[in-house]
Symmetry: C2
Subunit: 228 residues, 2 copies
């Protein structure tokens, strides 16, 4: 039986699929440090295990496991997808059954190399809309974390100066992900239905442009005007 009905109070088993890159491994580390049970998934089991070993050597980690994406998706109660845009759908298609009933957090940004500082909207407006269409309504897709630079994620003393915009059509799933982000030190905000992720995804190209234009390593964004 696959675990379903993730609720706000569950202890999560988080699988970061395609989690060996800078963004995925950084998020995996932040969640492990916050006490979650974290799995790094990869197409390549050896790479996943090596990445887990590396993360476990960082302060506050220690129990991150490495698995194939398939095993990671099965073992998880909640999955996070951190692969380059070109690999997004091929990574997820074989995992559809393993992800049924679970929350899948899509971090994909539809960058179009080499001009990654220029917005290139995918058909349908966002990468996550295509993902939800691919997986069907049985997977609770939520978009988020697209604007968080990997730059400081593995430095546990560095606060992340970037809000996380959470978009999804499943309100309860969004609440779970907002809370999950909070536990790892992120300020997350529910920013609307999955259609609204088009803005969050596209915004990453603006931040990359701003990094170059103003010669900074990792610009981000904060939503203003909210209650303290």
């Amino acid at each position: 039986m696959t675990p379903t009905d993730t609720t706000l109070t569950d202890k999560h088993i988080i699988a970061v699929l395609g989690g060996t890159g800078a963004e995925g491994s950084g998020l995996a580390y932040r969640w492990a440090r916050a006490g979650h049970d974290v799995i790094v998934g990869s197409r390549d089991l050896a790479k996943a295990m090596a990445c887990a070993d590396e993360l476990n050597a960082l302060p506050g980690a220690g129990s991150i496991r490495g698995m194939s994406n398939d095993d990671a998706a099965r073992a998880a109660t909640l999955a996070v997808l951190t692969v380059p845009y070109t690999a997004q759908r091929a990574t997820v298609a074989p995992l559809a059954e393993a992800l049924q009933g679970k929350i899948l957090v899509d971090v994909t940004v539809p960058l179009k190399p080499p001009k990654v500082d220029r917005v290139a909207l995918p058909e349908g407006g966002s990468a996550v809309a295509a993902l939800q269409a691919e997986l069907g309504p049985g997977v609770r897709v939520v978009a988020g974390f697209q604007n968080v630079s990997a730059h400081h994620l593995k430095n546990p003393d560095h606060p992340i100066d970037c809000d996380v915009l959470i978009c999804g059509d499943d309100r309860e799933a969004c609440d779970v992900v907002v809370e999950l982000a909070r536990t790892a030190g992120f300020h997350a905000i529910h920013a609307g239905p999955v259609a609204n992720a088009a803005a969050a995804e596209a915004l990453t190209s603006l931040l990359i442009f701003i990094n170059k234009r103003y010669k900074v390593p990792s610009s981000g964004l904060r939503i203003t005007g909210l209650p303290a």
Copy 2:
């Protein structure tokens, strides 16, 4: 002869086209208060003059003029377009000749009532891309101010807690608009080519969603990680 080649150091004659609404009149007021020569334009001359009178009664204004959009576009060295999305192209088409060689700042947000808190990307990704196509390369189109809530613009003591994302293909024109924004108390950031305005436009629906979800009057955004 129409004034052309606006540079960073010119004193501007700013025409806010469709400037009788909350956003346009608020921006007109902020610029007048900063010492610029400001014209409020409208399809309806009487409405433009009434709006100018109203603004001139506010502290620090006094010399704002009301004109037809056509006269305003001709008199201006720099124009700002603040009309609802549905009126954008019809407003601008007759002004193409008057705007040749000038900077046109497009504030249009492609909202789709009644669900204005949901991103609805126009064909081509942004409202401003269609505008630039309509007007041709002779008008120096720059997108900006889409995320600035009208809420506090006419309260001169209220600082605007929202950065302005400036997008355009004409680098010099973007620099002019960044500086123009600065003179009126806005923190403006060059955020890339006109293609990047898709993100800034779409972001407004997220801010409207956030206003409702978190019960605040005017959320905004700040870019973080920049030099102080």
